[in-house]
């Protein structure tokens, strides 16, 4: 009889939630194994190439659901490898939201004030820095100028990018060739490795079972490195503590599949999914009007025509992030870039005649011809946590269609009236800003082709004080399953009105002291208190006062 491998802490997924946990627990002395379903790629592997099979499709995941498609990372480093690295903190009012449950969604212990020290820790660790107008790309500058022209403000967003290394190639979604993006491959993960954590790529976790001694056994398959539809026999690992961080599109699916061997799951597992209220608009700019009305010039005869140039989002309008406004009417409007392929198919023409399609055909082709004059605006509204996961597929979180990237999952999302109204408000505002004085023609992406879509899956296994509507307690432990923690985007209770990674990371940092305490209680020789991955200690000092409440027994 062969004995099952054992470790202290098993981490599922290597995105923000996984990498942060792996680092702190390994640095504190625990034996840590990280299982990641995707490949382990580095800067040299990141290609500027749309060919199927290049890093763009290897590292990326696109799961089509019923009314909601989810885009994410599929590699060591998770979403941080393919993301746009905009890292704002969530505004204060977000933590006071009630959503649909008639009471505060966030635990009483979490507010902007109590999370700020954890945000500081993340900012030091990654690091996250502010940008100035010289860092702002043409697209961001154009958005700022249009906001200004309509009497609004606009802000360069804080980012996890080393702008000195950035070449503005706009290939962020394929992974950063120049290591300018401060993905988790540049901070938490190498630090975790240095402390002995093991990261195993192409290991996809399927389910968890409880052992008689209260530890857990995690079952995984091995995934082919080129064709992810092909899987091989894997194995199992026993661990005293499980940290689930497979992302909000996958974590609840693993738990659903484990119900037979773990026992009943809290009601909120696989419910209350939020797409962070995302929706995209495409503006096609009139170059002459950009020059004449906004006075913009690139200095080479062009006013804009710079859709291809940049580094994702650099400027956001935050005028509607006003806590005095009613819930479901607050949102941010952020300039964005989305590459061809996924970034064009859903864009609609403004002038489709009866009998013509808005998203394919002759006029759409004409719109594509103007591609360099596109400006994409990203809305993040407060949705109503409408998403619910159906019964899990046989393996993973989707039935894979293509060799990489594309699969069909079980998420169902039927947008509430409040969500539809907020999208309509935001659509109207973007139009108001960008169609003023003939600057552009603006249309929303269609929701009729694949439903809504999100790169910001959240809340499918959320924290809260109310056991009926939250799967995790306020320290991220799965209700009824001691020793299982969830630290990824699924823990965030609801839409944030801004990009979520900073908040996901801060919540993960905040969960660590409690996980360390639980590990100690299970006999693991581990302590809390590692510095930032580069050795910085100011963030650690900042959270010292908060530790007692997070480690109470």
């Amino acid at each position: 009889m062969t004995s099952t491998e054992r470790t202290d802490v098993l981490v599922v997924g290597s995105g923000f939630g996984g990498a942060i946990a792996a680092y702190h627990l390994a640095a504190g002395g625990a034996r840590v194994v990280v299982l990641e379903r995707g490949p382990w790629l580095g800067a040299q592997d990141f290609e500027h190439d749309f060919k199927l099979g290049s890093s763009y499709t290897r590292a990326f995941d696109f799961v089509v659901g019923d009314g909601m498609s989810v885009l994410g990372g599929n590699c060591v480093g998770g979403g941080s490898v393919v993301y746009f690295a905009a890292m704002p903190r969530a505004p204060r009012f977000v933590f006071e939201r009630h959503g649909t449950i008639g009471r505060r969604m966030w635990p009483a212990s979490v507010s902007r004030d109590t999370l700020d020290p954890w945000y500081d820790r993340v900012a030091e660790s990654i690091p996250v820095t502010t940008q100035d107008w010289n860092d702002v790309t043409y697209a961001g500058g154009l958005w700022a100028a249009a906001c200004d022209h309509s009497g609004r403000t606009a802000n360069p967003v804080p980012v996890a990018i080393d702008n000195a290394k950035c070449v503005n190639c706009n290939w962020m979604m394929a992974g950063c060739r120049f290591d300018a993006k401060r993905s988790l491959l540049t901070n938490y993960l190498p630090a975790a490795l240095a402390h002995g954590a093991q990261i195993r790529p192409l290991h996809e976790v399927q389910r968890i079972e409880r052992n008689h001694d209260g530890s857990y056994r995690v079952h995984y398959d091995l995934i082919d490195e080129e064709d992810y539809r092909i899987r091989y026999d894997g194995g199992a690992i026993d661990a005293k503590i499980i940290v689930l961080a497979a992302g909000a599109g996958a974590t609840p699916v693993i738990l659903q599949r484990s119900e037979a061997t773990l026992g009943a799951m809290p009601h909120a597992v696989g419910r209350y999914f939020s797409g962070n209220g995302e929706r995209l608009n495409t503006a096609v700019l009139n170059e002459d009007r950009v020059r004449d009305v906004l006075g913009l010039s690139r200095g080479d005869g062009l006013a804009y025509a710079a859709n291809q140039i940049g580094k994702g989002p650099t400027v956001a309008n935050w005028d509607r992030l006003d806590g005095s406004l009613p819930e479901f009417t607050r949102y941010s409007l952020e300039q964005l870039y989305f590459p061809p392929g996924l970034g064009t198919i859903l864009a609609q023409v403004a002038d489709a005649a009866p009998g013509e399609s808005t998203w394919f055909g002759v006029k759409k082709k004409e719109m594509l011809r103007r591609w360099q004059s596109w400006l994409i605006i990203f809305q993040m509204i407060e949705d109503a946590n409408e998403g619910v996961f159906g019964p899990p597929p046989a393996k993973g979180n989707a039935d894979r269609v293509s060799q990489q990237m594309l699969g069909v999952g079980r998420l169902k999302y039927d947008p509430a009236e409040t969500t539809l109204r907020a999208w309509a408000m935001a659509d109207a505002e973007v139009k108001e800003i960008l169609e003023r004085d003939g600057l552009a023609t603006v249309t929303a992406w269609t929701n009729e082709v694949i439903g809504a879509y999100t790169v910001h899956p959240l809340s499918s296994c959320r924290i809260g004080d109310d056991p009926a509507t939250s799967a995790l307690d306020d320290r991220n432990e799965l209700r009824g399953h001691p020793g299982i923690f969830v630290t990824d985007g699924s823990a965030v209770p609801g839409a944030l009105t801004v990009n979520p990674a900073m908040t996901i990371a801060a919540l993960a940092e905040r969960a660590i002291p409690g996980i360390v305490r639980a590990a100690q209680d299970r006999g693991v020789d581990v302590t809390y208190g590692a510095p930032a991955p580069d050795g910085g200690t100011s963030g650690r000092r900042g959270v010292a006062d908060l530790l007692p409440s997070l480690t109470r027994r």
């Binding site: 606009a154 503005n168 690139r298 399609s357």
Partner: protein, 189 residues
Amino acid sequence: MPPRAPADDNPRTTTLEAFADTIVPGEKRYPGDLAVAGAAEGAGAVQAGAIELLEWNATGVTEGLDDYARLLGDHARDYAAEHGLTLDDSLPPFVALTFEHRTALVRRLTAPDHPEKAFWVLLALFSNMAYDSAAHTSTAEAIAAGHPGLLAMGIARPGDDGLWRFPAHSYGRPLARLHPDTTPSGSPA
């Protein structure tokens, strides 16, 4: 114009071409081209490599192409009957439809309430990708070879090492007032 290869007469191929041409229409490849309707100027998805992409099993649709072509034929026949159209029976049914009728049928197949919607959206997605991202070839090579979609979209050429860099990227001056409540971290309050 290149001579027509006999393989192009394969009804499966011409049916799929006609579908791709409905998504991103192009000009006819040669006089008498039937699959490409000629609804738009310049090359469309077919010339951009739609069939090459669909025939590559990395997409996950390759094994289903027989079904796609057969079902599209069935739907075209039903559509024609419904609209009292007589189809040239020497052609695959979908190819026999005019561009306007092909468009109407594809809109119906991809509409929110159609039971096969997901199946057809997938074919539309890959047809579009052949044109706007040349997903069947390396992007730098596609541009060097004059890929019609990437060129029409004005995608800049990469540097000699196949990588893109844009040293000029910013207007380099303040262009708006900042939100008054911005915190020192650069975030909303």
